[in-house]
């Protein structure tokens, strides 16, 4: 008898990733539908505040796998622990945020347990008591619904897809003994840029600069707009290839997939490769001086004009609204 819908809790420096709360919220609905329990799996170092924040999101049970070795993510360390937990408790499903490490973990666990993995999902439903996942494929030009014949089904969930809904519970804590096994990846060094802005894939608002931004110095304009909206700044392939922005900022087929509430494309022509990375945005707003630019064919709203004039006006307009609210 397999039981439980599990959600992997990705956390760092005492903060749980937003996608975890989004996934828990959607998984709560599914668990209610099939009368199953919702469990969070926290690997690494836990504390009261992490447990407290999980209990705000409808969790019935929290599995804690603590070990100092697991303070830093390693593919093997987390794969070993997660696979052992699954073998022991036999959940129905394991859901993981589709982040860099989430994807990494999901594939290894899936092969070790000889089960299926559905990646970057944007929908979960129950059909004939089976979990069925929706995932965009072919650069967002199609979607496939798929299930898994084996237990557990593993799925990674696209950030910013589901709303995080608070739902206070008093979860049962299950401490598990953790043998981390053999870890073959040794982390020699890690570098993180310090940024006050949200992660590109998690941001509610993304402001992207394309070829029209004309140079690296002009990204400042986009940063000012993003900061008023608490958003992140992205770049099109053209501006990354021109050396104006690092690849970590690239949105598109050979960059990141983002799904914000509001996507503001500034001087982006709107190639299909770009669309692949932002087509699931809820609202697309485009500024381009070329009325024929492809971006206007997919944007909800657009202004044909000089971005160097329009973007500062936009920043001012949002600032005014902010001041008056």
């Amino acid at each position: 008898m397999t039981k439980g819908i599990w959600v992997f809790v990705e956390h760092r420096e005492n903060l749980i990733k937003k996608v975890v709360f989004e996934t828990l919220s959607e998984a709560r609905k599914i668990a209610d539908q099939i009368e199953d329990e919702l469990c969070a799996v926290l690997i690494g170092k836990s504390n009261d505040s992490l447990v407290e924040s999980l209990s705000e999101y409808g969790v019935d049970k929290i599995y804690l796998a603590e070990n100092d070795v697991l303070k830093t993510y390693t593919t093997d360390g987390f794969t070993n622990v997660m696979s052992d937990l699954i073998r022991k408790y036999e959940p129905r499903a394991l859901l993981i945020g589709c982040t860099i490490n989430g994807r990494d973990l999901a594939a290894q666990v899936a092969q070790r347990l000889a089960t299926g993995l559905l990646t970057d999902c944007t929908g979960i439903e129950v059909i004939d008591s089976q979990l069925v996942f929706t995932r965009p494929i072919y650069a967002g030009k199609a979607t496939v619904k798929a299930s898994c014949k084996t237990n557990p089904v593993i799925a990674t969930i696209r950030p910013n897809t589901f709303a995080a809904v608070q739902n206070k519970k008093d979860p049962k804590i299950v401490k598990t003994v953790t043998d981390c096994g053999n870890i073959r990846q040794v982390v020699i060094d890690a570098v993180r840029q310090v940024s006050q802005r949200p992660e590109l894939t998690e941001a509610n608002v993304v402001v992207t600069g394309g070829r029209g931004i004309k140079g690296p110095e002009n990204f400042k304009l986009l940063e000012e707009l993003a900061d008023v909206l608490g958003g992140a700044v992205g770049a099109s392939r053209a501006s990354v290839d021109a050396g104006w922005a690092p690849h970590s900022m690239q949105v598109g087929q050979t960059g990141k997939t983002v799904s914000p509430t509001l996507y503001i494309a500034c001087g982006v022509s709107g190639a299909i490769q770009h669309f692949a990375g932002m087509s699931s945005s809820k609202c697309i707003f485009a500024i381009n001086n070329d009325p024929e630019a492809n971006i206007f064919k997919i944007a909800d709203y657009g202004i044909v004009g000089d971005l160097f004039e329009v973007v500062p006006l936009l920043t001012e307009e949002f600032k005014k609204l902010k001041a008056s609210s």
């Binding site: 593919t75 860099i100 490490n101 990494d104 999901a106 594939a107 290894q108 899936a110 092969q111 000889a114 089960t115 299926g116 990646t119 970057d120 069925v132 494929i137 072919y138 030009k141 199609a142 496939v144 619904k145 299930s147 898994c148 014949k149 073959r184 990846q185 982390v187 020699i188 890690a190 840029q193 940024s195 992660e199 894939t201 509610n204 690849h247 970590s248 087929q253 050979t254 509430t261 509001l262 692949a276 087509s279 809820k282 609202c283 707003f285 064919k297 997919i298 909800d300 709203y301 657009g302 202004i303 044909v304 004009g305 000089d306 329009v310 006006l313 307009e317 949002f318 609204l321 902010k322």
Partner: protein, 257 residues
């Protein structure tokens, strides 16, 4: 150094999608290209080969006739190309990886490279699964790799930065954009690629029983996405257009200002 590169063909991004009579994505007549991330993997394989006097073998799982990506890899400088032909069997990532691992387990290898994801189904899992099946470590999304004394140090993307991971070889590495700039095939390479036979391996030759490669994932239905419609372009002097746009945006979506 023996280098293996996993490469696949994907639909050209510009390709228009349609569904066939069975409601599946129709591949008929669609132009195929080598998955761009796999091109980075081929290029890195060639660079390691040049530094270590090594040998690059490119492997693909596909229809026997769809050899363009393999031939492109040979034209770029790969030494051998292997096409594993599954025939009519429905494969998922589990099955594909299991097959690849079986093929590779019969070969000599120090390094296995692949793209971190394919641009068609974007599932980001076959290379990692191959590592797991071969019981060797994987490092995903690398942007740099240095090899010394049977070990590799690879720089990989992490959220908001990068980290350097050291592993003993053999190991699997998946390529992220930024790893290198793939070369264009030389004239000599293109001539070579025309003549070079691709080694064909049929599923039956591998000694895998049906159970071992039964797909775990079951597609239920495919749907073509409704194309996003062109919205409203606001025609007005900039200041007025901006306040109009902001009003419309805030009516449509909730953005905290």
């Amino acid at each position: 150094m023996k280098i293996i590169v996993l490469a696949k063909q994907t639909f050209d991004t510009e390709a228009k999608l349609s569904l066939d009579n069975n409601g599946k994505i129709d591949g008929q007549g669609v132009k195929l290209i080598m998955n761009p991330y796999d091109e980075f993997a081929v290029e890195e394989g060639l660079r390691i080969k040049e530094k270590t006097n090594g040998e690059v073998t490119v492997i693909s799982v596909d229809k026997e006739q769809d050899q363009d990506a393999l031939r492109q890899a040979i034209a770029m400088g790969a030494d051998e190309a292997v096409m594993v032909v599954p025939g009519d069997v429905e494969l998922d990532e589990y099955a594909t990886a299991t097959i690849l691992a079986k093929v590779i387990s019969k070969m000599e290898y120090d390094i296995i490279l692949g793209g971190f994801r394919a641009i068609d189904d974007g599932s980001c899992q076959v290379a990692g699964r191959v590592a797991e099946s071969l019981n060797i470590p994987v490092v995903n999304m690398i942007t740099e790799i240095k090899i010394e004394n049977g070990k590799a140090q690879a720089t990989r993307d992490i959220e908001g930065g990068s980290e350097v991971i050291e592993v003993k070889l053999p190991a699997v590495f998946t390529a992220q954009k930024g790893l290198n700039e793939p070369r264009y095939p030389s004239m000599k390479g293109i001539m070579k690629a025309r003549k070079k036979p691709v080694k064909i391996i049929r599923l039956g030759e591998l000694g895998l029983v049906e159970d071992q490669i039964a797909a775990k994932v079951k597609p239920v239905s495919y749907t073509l996405a409704e194309p996003r419609k062109a919205g409203q372009v606001i025609q007005d002097e900039p200041a007025k257009a901006v306040s109009q746009a902001v009003k419309l945006i805030l009516e449509k979506v909730k953005v905290v200002v």
